[in-house]
């Protein structure tokens, strides 16, 4: 799962750092770029053209599902993974409706996220 560029959209600084570390550890050649809210994420995804966008569902302003929907409507090819960190906010169905390719939960070892990254590339 070699990706040149991955965009992570999450409003939590600690989580961003944790995810970035996990992604770089999994593949040191990956460039990880980050955004702290949906609007910024959409703008960066247009400018930077990442191969994968990872979106946390709880974001200030427009939420993760809406961010996913807008990125998808502008780009049918980009791979999107929607991610949730809270037990009571897990909703894969809503993420699929918004056009995500994969869905995962946010854990401290990023296990599920790395699984999702593998799945997103497998045929």
């Amino acid at each position: 799962m070699a990706f040149k560029k991955i965009l992570v959209i999450d409003d939590n600084d600690d989580d961003l750092l944790m995810i970035t570390e996990c992604l770089v550890e999994a593949d040191p050649s990956t460039e990880v770029i980050t955004a702290l809210d949906g609007e910024e994420g959409i703008r960066i995804s247009i400018q930077e053209r990442p191969e994968v966008v990872i979106i946390d569902t709880t974001l200030p302003g427009i939420d993760g599902f809406e961010t996913c929907r807008r990125i998808r409507s502008g780009d049918a090819e980009v791979m999107i993974i929607v991610m949730t960190g809270q037990v009571n906010a897990v909703n894969a169905g809503k993420a699929r409706e918004a056009g995500t390719d994969e869905y995962c939960v946010k854990t401290s070892d990023c296990e599920d996220l790395l699984n999702a990254l593998r799945d997103v590339t497998s045929p």
Binding site: V90, A92, A95
Partner: protein
């Protein structure tokens, strides 16, 4: 958006129909794979490798008939596989037979392009919806499970940290006690002019130091107690105790304070003894904490303490007419470091541990405590203790107290006093209680002897304690001896032997000198 690519099987022996169906499907703007078969057998062997997502099936095949194939799909467990029948339906009940065997729709021959497009599109949309639903359910379930596991792990880590913190508090408190005790003793001796005259002004400052050292010791003892309670290491030594008498004594201790605040303090005195099987020191602590609290939070009215003998247990009550506790705070009242409704200000400061300790002690005794309170009207604490029943006779023996003290402390001394020749035993006991300042000091009274256990005390200090206890009267009429751990013995037996030897030795010497 990445989606699984669907595969459609066309099972049709008529070449031109097969080609026509294929052409229609290719022209549809869906991204799916098409595989076509002229016989049922070919289709079945491919089916075993990778089942398709949709089947277009002619009922009349040369090798196996379509009905047979439908049954085979079911037998292979492909219950959800959607099958569209493409047929001329020669017999009237062929459609019914097909649906009975699991087909979901049909296309009449001769084939009409629009029929095929509409029915295939409909089935694929339906299939996509079902798959998405299944995927979402699975992802949601797995996700929730994973996050719960994560929470559990975090919880475990927090609990470990909590234990670490408790251990730390426990050991630090323990280390603080000895130097504090030495400091207190030194200042106390200076203040009592043991080493020369002390001017009044200096005495006042030394008194201030002593009061605050006692406060500090109280805080440290509380921390140590709560840490022991939480680790299940607080030991209690149950004996026969008259709770009525105990309450009477405690009430008299608090009388001055209550009077100063203009409060009526009533203890339960019915003259009759109510015997409980409790650790007297710990029980006093419970009453002290509850009455202390009541005094703190009551501005006018009364504090009433009752001890009621029930059939199986003894019910105690400490009731005040204070400001009361809000309903929303009641549940956290017994949690440690909670100072519910307490205003910070001058006066006594608590540690927020009193009620947690009281609860811990009561529960260690096998009893329970609960609270009833109305804001603005007052608060009542109800708690129970075990009744003393004569047969149970499980009085704390000196031996078991000594064994546990050796385990607990690095150094301790034991004073044994012979009380057989004593005229006023009660007065003597009273003096003992007044002479012992530390909570860890223990007194065990047996028929002929009184044992005083003094943890963290050197042998030399014991004579000071002993002279305080004996007072000026009948100073010579008692046979007493002192042993210290670890210098006189390392085990309980060695120490007890030491005590017996010394007493016998003294008697022997007395006899000899008497004869002279």
């Amino acid at each position: 958006m990445k989606q699984t690519k669907y595969t459609i099987f066309i099972i049709e022996n008529n070449v031109s129909d097969r080609q026509f169906l294929k052409k229609i499907l290719v022209e549809m703007e869906y991204d799916f794979a098409i595989k076509d078969f002229a016989t049922g057998k070919e289709a079945m062997s491919e089916m075993n490798i990778r089942p398709p997502d949709l089947v277009l099936l002619n009922l009349y095949l040369p090798d196996q008939d379509g009905f047979f194939l439908l049954e085979s799909f079911h037998q292979k467990g492909l219950v959800d596989l959607p099958v569209l029948l493409v047929s001329s339906f020669d017999k009237e009940d062929d459609k019914k037979k097909g649906f009975d065997r699991g087909a979901i729709d049909f296309i009449n021959k001769p084939i009409v392009l629009e029929d095929v497009k509409a029915r295939v599109a409909c089935q694929l949309r339906f299939k996509r919806m079902m798959d998405d639903q299944k995927w979402a359910n699975q992802k949601t379930n797995e996700g929730i499970k994973m996050l719960y596991k994560e929470l559990e792990n975090q919880n475990k880590k927090l609990l470990q940290l909590d234990h670490l913190k408790d251990d730390f508090v426990g050991s630090v408190s323990h280390e603080l006690r000895t130097p504090l005790a030495i400091m207190r003793e030194s200042i106390s001796q200076i203040r009592d002019e043991l080493f020369g005259e002390v001017p009044d002004q200096q005495k006042r400052y030394l008194d201030k130091a002593l009061i605050n050292m006692d406060r500090l010791r109280n805080i440290i003892d509380n921390l140590l107690d709560i840490s022991k309670i939480e680790k299940g290491k607080l030991e209690i030594y149950k004996e026969k105790v008259d709770l009525n008498k105990l309450v009477e004594e405690i009430v008299s201790d608090f009388a001055v304070k209550a009077k100063a605040k203009g409060l009526i303090l009533e203890g339960a005195v019915h003259g009759t003894a109510v015997y409980a099987l409790v650790d007297p020191e710990k029980t006093i602590q419970v009453f002290n904490n509850l009455i202390g609290n009541a005094l703190k939070f009551t501005e006018k009215g009364s504090i009433e303490i009752t001890v009621q003998e029930e059939e199986d247990f003894i019910q105690c009550k400490v009731k005040d007419t204070g400001k009361g506790i809000a309903q929303k705070d009641l549940h956290k009242l017994f949690d440690k470091f909670q100072q519910v409704g307490r205003k910070h200000g001058p006066g006594e400061k608590g540690t927020g541990l009193g009620l947690a300790i009281a609860k811990g002690i009561i529960e260690l005794h096998g009893g329970n405590i609960h609270v009833e309170s109305t804001e603005g009207e007052g608060t009542a604490f109800f708690f129970s203790f075990q009744k003393y029943i004569e047969e149970s006779g499980s009085c704390m023996s000196f031996r078991s107290a000594l064994i546990s003290a050796i385990k607990q402390f690095n150094q301790l001394s034991v004073i044994k006093v012979d009380i057989r020749n004593l005229k006023d035993v009660d007065a003597f006991k009273g003096r003992i209680t007044k002479s012992l300042f530390r909570k860890s000091d223990r007194v065990i009274i047996e028929e002929q002897h009184v044992f005083i256990l003094l943890p963290d005390t050197e042998k030399e200090m014991c004579s000071v304690v002993l002279s305080r206890i004996k007072g000026s009267h009948d100073a010579d009429s008692l046979g007493e001896c002192i042993v210290s751990f670890p210098i006189d013995g390392l085990t309980c037996d060695e120490l007890i032997n030491g005590l017996e030897r010394t007493i016998e030795g003294e008697n022997h010497e007395k006899n000899i000198s008497g004869r002279r």
